[in-house]
Amino acid sequence: MDFSSDPELESIAREAENLASAFDDDYWSEHDEKKQFPWDFYRAFAEQGWMGIAIPEKYGGAGLGVLHAGTLLHTVAGSAGAMNAASTLHLSIFGMGPVIHHGSEALKEKVLPPTARGDLHTSFGVTEDDAGTDTSRIRTAARRDGDRWIVNGKKVWNTKAQQCQKILLLARTTPRDECARRFDGLTLFLADLDPDHVEIREIPKMGRNAVNSNEVFLRDLPVSNEDVVGEVGRGFYHLLDGINPERIMVAAEAVGIGLRAIDKAVAYAKERIVFDRPIGQNQAVAHPLGDSYSELQAADLLWKHAAWTYDRGLPAGGLTNMAKLRCADAGFRACDRALQTFGGFGYAREFHVERYWREARLMRLAPISQEMALNFVTEHVLGLPRSY
């Protein structure tokens, strides 16, 4: 066991923090309130090459793994931008995983260099209203039409779709009841968000409003055969190379946002004087902060363990879901306790912790609910009977 610091990871965290710190709480508060996509922030990171962190060097990226990308996103989520900032970047980072691992050479050459440069934005199109987490029951379907495919259906919770040119789309290409296994017969496409065939509607939501979430309606959307990612009918399995990194990165982000909230709360608890003493001198204020800080440190080790395992090509599903579970809980609890530390001011927008709180709440729901993460752990790690 070696816990000594890794200079490369330290450098990534330090330089990402330097860059992110140019965008303060007021910048993010304003973008959140006005629902404005933070282009300045995005371009600043894209210009320094951060979008290509996990893209192979051959295609213009840095060729680093989930541990490095997680370190970047952990740092960004720990900046004033919290989840808004992390979500601005993380789709371009994990979303191309299936293309990197399973896409054709031609497809990689076409889409990976512009993604690494930050010019190509891709939304992730998996979730549907009628299927939820039961991905095998998605209703979006693609049928062959000569050398192309025609896709019809609807996706939901498509992050950043308003800014995206493409969507990584999972569609059924063989009816479920004709497949040997329920996850067979699904195909992954990297489709254009062609406005003639696609309608995007924003979903008004509780937080993280600088980055939109959408419903995407697909009507006779043509997709060329070259834009099929991997094998026809194997899309779900290819998708796992996006889903697991996404969960690990979200876990890393949850710890980042939690640490920022604790940092703010500790500073406030030292400075805020009530009854002639700093409120942090009261154990009822201090202990929850100490407790959350130690929870975050424990959770931090778990996502790093999951990332390290994934990057080595070892089975990482169990660790990934456990990390997502623990980090999301620790992150939200930290934000909630920070808000409580601020008392009434915690509820005021001026102090920003309410924004962190709203955003951290999302981590317990997305990209997968805590309950579904637990189902994975009980079934696949503990070997208990499947409950659903």
Partner: protein, 260 residues
């Protein structure tokens, strides 16, 4: 052209600082550090010389292991190599001690141009740059807000008192100490960070530089007796409440005094 950039690592501008028990300096345990912001303008200036033509940019810093972070950042931004004077014997040096060390490094490197910040944000002496120049026997200009660098000379614009400016020409080798805001400082790119891993950081001791016994706490001529936070003055009134409340109270006070 060879450019030597002197960097100091100072406590981060957001760091909450406590005074050491002996009262002579701050506690630096657990404090976050960053590159002195004045020095980042010096580094940027050097990198612009490199961008414009052939130049080697060498960065030098003095301090414990943590200083490696500052040097790595500089290498990530584009500097070619680093010299790290990492020696407990250098600790506690006064400005002259620091200047001797930097001048000794400059003597080994023989740069055409030495770039530094005008002063450090922690010590605020603004003494080291001219001392380095004097020890090296080269011309220098401080408080520089703009410089045009050619092959063998530098034309600088420097700040004088009362808002006046001065234009000075210096022959190389020379030392230029930059004011903040002299340029737009770049960030390290991811590519730069990856390349920085392979760039050399040359560790040196005081003895390596031939300065044993001449620098550090035992050789100081300037002693910091104590640092302290000034007491709150008499008659100061703290306004409390939200920003809006404080502003309206303040406006009320100004009106009360007949100033508005």
């Amino acid at each position: 052209m060879k450019v030597l950039v002197c960097l100091k690592q100072v406590p981060h501008s957001d760091a909450r600082l406590d005074i050491r028990d002996d009262g002579a300096w701050i506690k630096d345990d657990g404090v976050k550090f960053e590159i002195n912001s004045y020095d980042t303008y010096a580094l940027e200036q050097a990198l612009r010389v490199k961008d414009a033509g052939e130049a080697e940019v060498v960065v030098v810093s003095i301090g414990p292991d943590r200083v490696t972070q500052a040097l790595r950042t500089a290498l990530g931004m584009g500097a070619d190599r680093a010299v790290h004077v990492n020696d407990p014997e250098a600790e506690g040096s006064d400005p002259l001690g620091v200047a001797k060390i930097l001048a000794a490094v400059a003597a080994e490197e023989s740069p055409d141009l030495i770039l530094t910040g005008f002063m450090s944000e922690d010590g605020n002496f603004a003494a080291v740059p001219p001392m380095v120049a004097r020890l090296q026997g080269i011309p220098s200009a401080t408080a520089v807000v703009q410089c045009e660098i050619s092959d063998s000379s530098v034309r600088v614009e420097r700040e004088l008192e009362g808002g006046a400016m001065e234009v000075v020409d210096l022959e190389m080798p020379c030392l230029i100490a930059l004011q903040t805001g002299a340029n737009q400082v770049r960030y390290a790119s991811l590519k730069g960070i990856m390349q920085a891993k392979k760039k050399p950081v040359d560790a040196k001791t005081v003895a390596d530089l031939g300065l044993a016994g001449q620098v550090g706490a035992s050789a100081v001529k300037v002693v910091i007796e104590k640092i302290y936070r000034p007491d709150k003055g008499e008659g100061a009134e703290m306004l409390e409440g939200s920003t809006g409340e404080v502003v309206s109270q303040l406006v009320g006070k100004i009106k009360e005094l007949g100033l508005l």
